[in-house]
């Protein structure tokens, strides 16, 4: 394999970089990298990997670009809103670097298709935004013996690591399950939609992931394996935690149902969850019915708009169970109905409540259907 005249020109800053050189540029050209999630982390990672000259880049994302993504997902502009992210990313990146071969996956990665896709690549970059897909990618990479460059973000902090890296002695470095063997209860760790994220943070963490991918492929420097990097953008402090030699590897035998593993599909339970619509809630309020209304959002969300419910942020629910009535109707709400639904299920399962109702569609539905003057966010 050689570089064309155009490629020599394009990658000249790599080629003159003494430690990098033609040899490593050719390694990038020969390599295949799968980026799972073209969102906050995927945006900078894809831009830099495409710019750097990775030969084949796979982009997996089933989601569509939303206006609220543009605050951090710098791969997209207003023309991409409403379009599939993998498709829009491919078009944008093809303009950045036409030398690259892109493969896109617009369906959701699941236990059924993930392994076959991962097997076609040399390195996988995890830019996903939920626990089931993170465990899925981890297990698929362990089963396929592929290194996984992990990154995750929330608010002002991020984590980076290289999992399942094949070391010089032939053994594999720690993987995600060595750090976090069991997934958290769905309600206990907020995601970016709920708790927010500083827009520039994924730019930093995703760029670190792209850098680690290049190190893994070229062998330059010391890839971040058997380590977990913690980064806090507010203090600019970076901490690197040494990880144990993993022993969870042997427990990963096949891909499983990750929604179930992460407690998200409680099957019958979920269907049994009682709900009220915003119209029904309005009737309860107007008729001055005796019921308790609990808002599980965060205080700063409460300040944006509220239904005068009792504010118990979801993280504080476990230590405030005694504030929730057991002998009258209790309506629990959040922004969209997701967090409150999780809390209803958690309270039913762990504390035997039978009088809880989730507000369908949350305060967003209220703003849409009952009070259009209420701000939506």
């Amino acid at each position: 394999m050689k570089l064309s005249t155009d490629e020599v020109k394009r990658y000249s800053r790599h080629l003159v970089l003494q430690e990098f050189g033609l040899e490593n540029q050719l390694k990038l050209k020969k390599s295949k990298v799968l980026v799972v999630g073209a969102g906050g982390l995927g945006s900078p990672a894809l831009l830099y990997l495409a710019a750097a000259g990775i030969g084949t880049i796979g982009i997996a994302d089933f989601d569509r670009v939303d206006v609220s993504n543009l605050q951090r997902q710098v791969l997209f502009d207003i023309n991409a809103v409403g379009r599939n992210k993998a498709q829009a990313a491919k078009e944008r990146l093809s303009l950045l670097n036409p030398e690259i071969n892109f493969e896109i996956y617009t369906e959701k990665l699941t236990s059924l298709n993930a392994l076959a896709i991962v097997q076609q690549y040399d390195v996988v970059l995890d830019g996903t935004d939920n626990f089931p897909t993170r465990y899925l990618m981890n297990d698929a990479c362990v089963l396929a013996n592929k290194p996984l460059v992990y990154g995750s973000i929330l608010r002002f902090e991020g984590q980076v690591a290289v999992f399942n890296y094949r070391k010089t002695d032939g053994s594999y470095s720690a993987n995600y399950r060595d750090l976090f063997a069991s997934p958290p209860d769905p309600a206990s760790v907020p995601n970016c939609e709920q708790a927010g994220v500083l827009g520039v943070l994924p730019g930093m963490i995703g760029s670190m992931q792209a850098s680690e991918v290049i190190k893994v492929i070229t062998g330059l420097g010391e890839p971040l394996y058997d380590k977990l990097l913690l980064f806090d953008s507010l203090s600019m402090q970076q901490t690197i935690i040494g990880l144990p030699r993993g022993n969870s590897r042997n427990s990963i035998q096949k891909l499983i149902d990750y929604d179930e593993f992460c407690g998200l599909s409680l099957g019958a339970n979920k269907n049994d969850m009682k709900e009220v619509t915003v119209q029904e809630l309005k009737e309860l309020i107007d008729s001055k019915a005796d019921f308790q209304l609990i808002d599980v959002r965060e205080p700063h969300e409460f300040d944006i708009c509220n239904l005068e419910g009792e504010l118990i942020p979801q993280a504080e629910i476990p230590s405030n169970v005694d504030r929730i009535s057991k002998d009258k109707k209790v309506v629990i709400h959040c922004r969209s109905g997701a967090r409150s639904g999780n809390m209803v299920q958690w309270l039913e399962k762990n504390h035997g409540f039978t009088n809880l109702y989730n507000l369908k569609g949350g305060i967003l539905a209220w703003a849409r259907e009952i009070d259009p003057t209420m701000p939506s966010y």
Binding site: I153, A181, D185, A187, V189, P190, N191, L230, I241, S319
Partner: protein, 79 residues
């Protein structure tokens, strides 16, 4: 014994700040974890809470001392 604990991510909300001092009788990571769980039940919901001592992953039976740097690292899913 008094141990100084540094909180990351969502554990900052649960402990109410970036740092906390935990008083307990025992001298192991397991004792510290139990004490934290009792005082802050919301930590139990994390199910996997990584505890690092002096910037290294710590097993439950590891002995800790007051001068150790202890960190609580929760799982994070955002991307």
């Amino acid at each position: 014994m008094k141990y100084k604990v540094k909180a990351f991510g969502v554990t900052k909300d649960i402990l109410g700040g970036k740092e906390a001092v935990v008083e307990l009788e025992g001298q192991t990571v397991a004792a510290l974890r139990n004490q934290l769980f009792q005082k802050h039940p919301a930590l139990q919901g994390l199910r996997s809470l990584l505890i690092a001592v002096n910037n290294t992953y710590a097993e439950d039976n590891q002995v800790i001392s007051e001068s150790d740097e202890i960190a609580l690292i929760p799982p994070v899913s955002g991307g």
